[in-house]
Subunit: 323 residues, 2 copies
């Protein structure tokens, strides 16, 4: 239903123009790693604390006059939820968000605070979130706004790459030749691939949730194992990518990487101390892989810090640890 | 020695042009407070984690050919130290920084990591930091770069206000009519006053360290009491403002405000949850006063979040608390 067309580079450029009208450019912060400078795109500073606001804005502003009054339904562990809720409130569109019962409290609270209705589903119990969302859409005649398997969402997230390119031209002397980004379902990474045709794009997933890495290796869409371990990277807990994403990723990403829980925590601590940024675990996955030396750096490397919505207790524990 | 001329609005404009060549504009983040939007200038995202890099850059780039090889001496609890060290390294100038033995470890470590020599003095024991700095300057023929009582430093810090005005013109529909800022010796606040002649400027100090507030009330420079309480706001622990600062402040600030320790912690927690920013206590003082309802908001209110250098243990304790 959501894969009605292919996402395009022209769509990314159009999304970037729309986003530039309402959202200030997030900073691209230099960070020294082993004597070299990498450039960190601080998407955790978006109004909802994550890049997801971009795709939601691109999708909702393109709804037809018939679709708008029937509202939208989002499916999300939290950041896409807040992005859809933010865009919907600004446009006066009704939004319902299907969220897992075990999402971080801060994400549930923030989504409700933005005026969206939250419909909970039983993720730990194995309930299928897409089935729940399809049912809610059918009941209301609403438009499904998928978190990643949607050409508008991919194009909107890709606007991150347009900003990175412009900022690196000014401050780093040229366009990025490598972009490392956290990867859940592949919306952001596919968008970055369309935005930056000359850069290597490296997706990073949490340990045990590396379906995109395995899919790139096998050449077909693989699913996360049913007994996947728990992960603090709730934003990257997607069971599988989709054809609309995988087609782009397969053409542009030779491989994917995995970040371990300890590597993610180390990245959160470094971002705290050196960038003064609050990163949620999933948002720090790409930085984690870079700091762990898992990526051969480019001449001009960009790393996306994709989100910063984390509960205070969880973050305090990360800061207090030293593993 | 450092008050050889008056700081001017033209000097602020010149500093802003110099700063714009080397430092990307820090974001101005909207924050809803009681249904109204305030605009938070995230100076904690500067490369050294504080606005102090501005004044240091303006001062050091204006050193004469005779002064440069003799080096500079800074006096600082930490953020000015890092600003001077950063600018000195970039310009190839030798820097020694006089710092208190009880400065946060992260500030001492970061200053040394930037290549500066650290000369410790006994703040808890009552040693006078200006005397120590004067001695080091005399020994080396170096130029003293005072943390606030210096026209270049005031002008450089004022470049923050030039950026705020441009950003608010674009996103808030006009220049700020109120700027609330943390205040130690009055370098930043005096610079903001010169940068924004049409805005009310409100300095905020920590409880017990409100010498500027008392000075504005009495009309003459007052000192912090010898038995002032300990404060987490180490960046704002200055014993007294100086004539070069006070002259500007007296002309523009009808009053100053105080933030209590609990108000500062609440502001740090809010910045964590809503802005995804790491604020040090002193950097959060102005936001603390605004959140506590101590300032009558303007039509377009800017709040400076001045620094984010804090130890992980201290920040974890703030997050875990709920007072």
């Amino acid at each position: 239903m959501t894969e009605t067309r292919e996402p395009t580079a022209e769509g990314v450029a159009r999304a970037a123009r729309k986003v530039a009208e309402i959202l200030p450019v997030t900073p691209l912060l230099p960070l020294e790693v082993d004597g070299r400078t990498i450039w960190c795109k601080a998407e955790c500073l978006q109004p909802v604390g994550a890049f997801k606001i971009r795709g939601a804005w691109h999708r909702l502003t393109d709804l037809s006059a018939e679709e708008r009054p029937r509202g939208v339904v989002g499916v999300s562990s939290g950041n896409h939820a807040q992005g859809v809720a933010w865009a919907a409130r600004r446009l006066g569109i009704t939004a319902a968000i299907v969220m897992p019962v075990d999402a971080p409290q801060v994400k549930l609270a923030n989504t409700r605070a933005l005026g969206a209705e939250v419909v909970l589903y039983d993720r730990p119990g194995g309930e299928d979130r897409d089935e729940v969302a399809a049912r809610v859409c059918a009941e209301r005649g609403a438009t499904l706004v998928h978190a990643y398997a949607d050409p508008w969402i991919i194009e909107g997230q890709g606007s991150t790459g347009i900003e990175i390119a412009a900022q690196m031209e000014q401050w780093a002397g040229g366009a990025p030749d490598l972009i490392v980004a956290p990867c859940g379902g592949g919306g952001l990474t596919a968008g970055l691939a369309l935005a930056a045709p000359d850069a290597r794009i490296v997706p990073v997933e949490p340990e045990g949730w590396d379906d995109v890495r395995r899919s790139l290796a096998s050449g077909r869409i693989e699913r996360v194992a049913a007994d996947a371990p728990p992960t603090a990277c709730d934003a990257l807990q997607t069971p599988a990518t989709r054809p609309v994403n995988f087609k782009v990723l397969q053409a542009r990403c030779p491989f994917g990487l995995v970040a371990t829980p300890a590597e993610v925590r180390a990245a959160q601590r470094l971002a705290f101390a050196k960038l003064r940024l609050v990163m949620e675990p999933g948002g720090a996955a790409a930085l984690a892989a870079v700091l762990a030396g898992k990526v051969e750096l480019g001449e001009r490397t960009a790393v996306v810090l994709s989100g910063g919505n984390t509960d205070a207790d969880a973050f305090a524990k990360v800061l207090a640890g030293n593993d």
